[in-house]
C-alpha cells in the first residue's frame, strides 16, 4: 500500500583504504520516520550523503524519492530537488538574506518568480517560527534560528524525503528544543524523514524505527520501544549504555 521512498542495496563506500560503509541494505516507506544512531565514525553521515549522492557510492544501488540515484544516467539535480537535506552546521548561504536563502533555489532551480519564491519563503518561515528576520543575514541569527531557516529552505523545494544530519549537535542545549519541535511537527504532518541524531528522547518519541549503525554495517534495527530499551546485540547495548548514561 505504501510507497518505498528509499531503497538501498549492498551499499559500499570506501575513502582510499578506509571502507566506511560495508554493505548497507535499508528501506524506508513513505511517511516513515527513521532515526539513525551509532558511535562517531561509524559512517552515519556518509550513509546519508550517499542517499542524495553528495558522496558517490563505491558500489551498490540507491533509490530515493522515486529516482534511481546510482543509475549512470540519473538526473541528480532533478532528484535532489525532491530530497531535502539539513546539515549539522546549517550551511546557510552567508552572503544572502534569510529570505533569499530560501528563495534562491526556488527561483534558479524551480524557475519560480521572485514574488512567488518570496511568498513561499514567508510561508515556510512562519511554519518554522522564524519571523521578522527576512532581511537579516544568517550570521545575525541564533543557531536555533539558523537551523530552522535551513529546514525552511529545504521544505520550500517541496521535497518528498528529508535527510537530517545531526541537526541539533551544533546547538547550545537551550536551543535544541525549538529545532526538535519543528521536526516533530514535520513528522506529524507525515513527512518521510531519515534523521541522524544523538537525541534519544526525540528518537523514542518520534521515530517509527531506529537503525543502529556500527563499523559501517547496520547491526540492529527496530521500533524505538524495543531498540532503545532492550536491544539484542551487545554492541547496541553498550552504545546505548554510553549515550543514555554518559556519567556512569
Amino acid at each position: 500500500m505504501s510507497t518505498r521512498l528509499v531503497t538501498i542495496r549492498g551499499l559500499h563506500k570506501r575513502f582510499g583504504d578506509n571502507e566506511v560503509l560495508r554493505g548497507i541494505d535499508l528501506d524506508i516507506d513513505e511517511g516513515e520516520v527513521v532515526c539513525l544512531i551509532g558511535p562517531s565514525g561509524s559512517g552515519k553521515s556518509t550513509l546519508l550523503r550517499c542517499i542524495n549522492l553528495l558522496e558517490p557510492p563505491t558500489s551498490g544501488t540507491v533509490g530515493a524519492a522515486g529516482h534511481d540515484m546510482t543509475h549512470p544516467d540519473a538526473d541528480l539535480d532533478a532528484a535532489r530537488r525532491e530530497i531535502g537535506m539539513v546539515f549539522q552546521h546549517f550551511n546557510l548561504f552567508s552572503h544572502l538574506t534569510i529570505l533569499d536563502n530560501i528563495a534562491i533555489a526556488q527561483r534558479r532551480v524551480l524557475g519560480r518568480s521572485k514574488a512567488e519564491a518570496h511568498a513561499e519563503a514567508r510561508r515556510r518561515l512562519a511554519e518554522v517560527g522564524v519571523e521578522g528576520k527576512e532581511r537579516a543575514k544568517p550570521a545575525q541569527l541564533s543557531g536555533g534560528q539558523q537551523q530552522r531557516v535551513a529546514i525552511a529552505r529545504a521544505l520550500a523545494m517541496g521535497p518528498t524525503l528529508m535527510l537530517f544530519d545531526e541537526p541539533t549537535s551544533a546547538l547550545d542545549p537551550e536551543l535544541v528544543g525549538e529545532v526538535l519541535a519543528v521536526m516533530r511537527g514535520l513528522a506529524a504532518d507525515g513527512m518521510t524523514m531519515l534523521v541522524v541524531t544523538h537525541e534519544m528522547s526525540f528518537a523514542r518519541e518520534v521515530a517509527d524505527r531506529v537503525v543502529f549503525l556500527d563499523g559501517g554495517v547496520i547491526v540492529e534495527q527496530g521500533p524505538p520501544s524495543q531498540m532503545l530499551t532492550e536491544p539484542t546485540t551487545e554492541r547496541a547495548q553498550s552504545f546505548l549504555r554510553r549515550v543514555l548514561h554518559p556519567v556512569d
Partner: protein, 268 residues
Amino acid sequence: MNAAQRTALTVRGRRRLTRTVQYGVFAAALIALIALADWGRIADSFLQVDIAADMFPAVWTAFGNTVAYTLLAFVFGMLVGVPLALMRVSGFGPYRWLSTVYVEVFRGLPALLVLFLVGFAVPQAFPGVTWPGGVYGQVAIGLGLTSSAYIAESVRAGIQAVPPGQVEAARSLGMSHTRTMISIVLPQALRIVVPPLTNELVLLTKDSSLVYVLGVTASTMELTRFARSELTDTANATPLLVGGLLYLLLTVPLSALARRLETKGDRR
C-alpha cells in the same frame, strides 16, 4: 626571589637604555641631515612653485589617462581573470591545464615585455591586425594580460576559501555545478578577494607608467611620461614631485581602502 626580581629590573632597564640610544641616533641623523643638506639647492630643483603651477591644467589630461589605462587594464584583467579562475578549479582537466599554463606564463613575464609584445611584436607579425581602441586597446590588453594572471590567482584562492558546506547545501537543493558557482561560490569568493584586488589596482596604477614605451602623443600621455617631458622642458625636477604626488593621490586612498576591507573581512 630577590635575585630574580633584580634580574628582571635589569632586563627592563637594559631595554629602556637600548630604546633611548635608538631615539638618540635617530634624532642625531635627522639633525645632521637638516643641517648638512643644501636646502636652497634642493628647493631650486624640486620645489619651484611657478613650474608646478605651469603644469596645470595640462597635467589633468595625463592624470586622467593614468586612471583610464589603469581601469581599462583592470577591467580586461577581470574579464579574463575570473573565467581563468573558474577554469583552474574546474573538474575538466584540459581547462585546468590551459589556465595553469596561462597564469604561469603571464605571471612569469615582465609586464614591460608583454607590453612590447602587444604593442610591437603582434602588429609586426600580423600586419593586418590592429588593436581596437588604438593605444587604449593596446594598454588594456598589454597590461591586462599580466594583471589577469594575478587576478586569476587571487580569485582562485577566494573560490577555495568558500567553505565546502556552501557548495553541498546548494547541490543538495538541486542546483547544478555551474549554477552553484554563479549564485553561491563566486559572490562569496569575490567578497573575499576585494582586498587583494584593490592591491592589484594599486600595482596597476603604477604599472600604467610603462605605457610610455608604446610611443604616446600629448593626448595619450600618462603621468610619468608627462612629468618626464616637463622635466626635459624645464630642466627642473619639480614636475616629478607633482607627478609623484598625483600618483599618491590615487594609491594611498586605495591602499587604505584595501586595509580597511581586510579588517572588515576578518570580522565577517
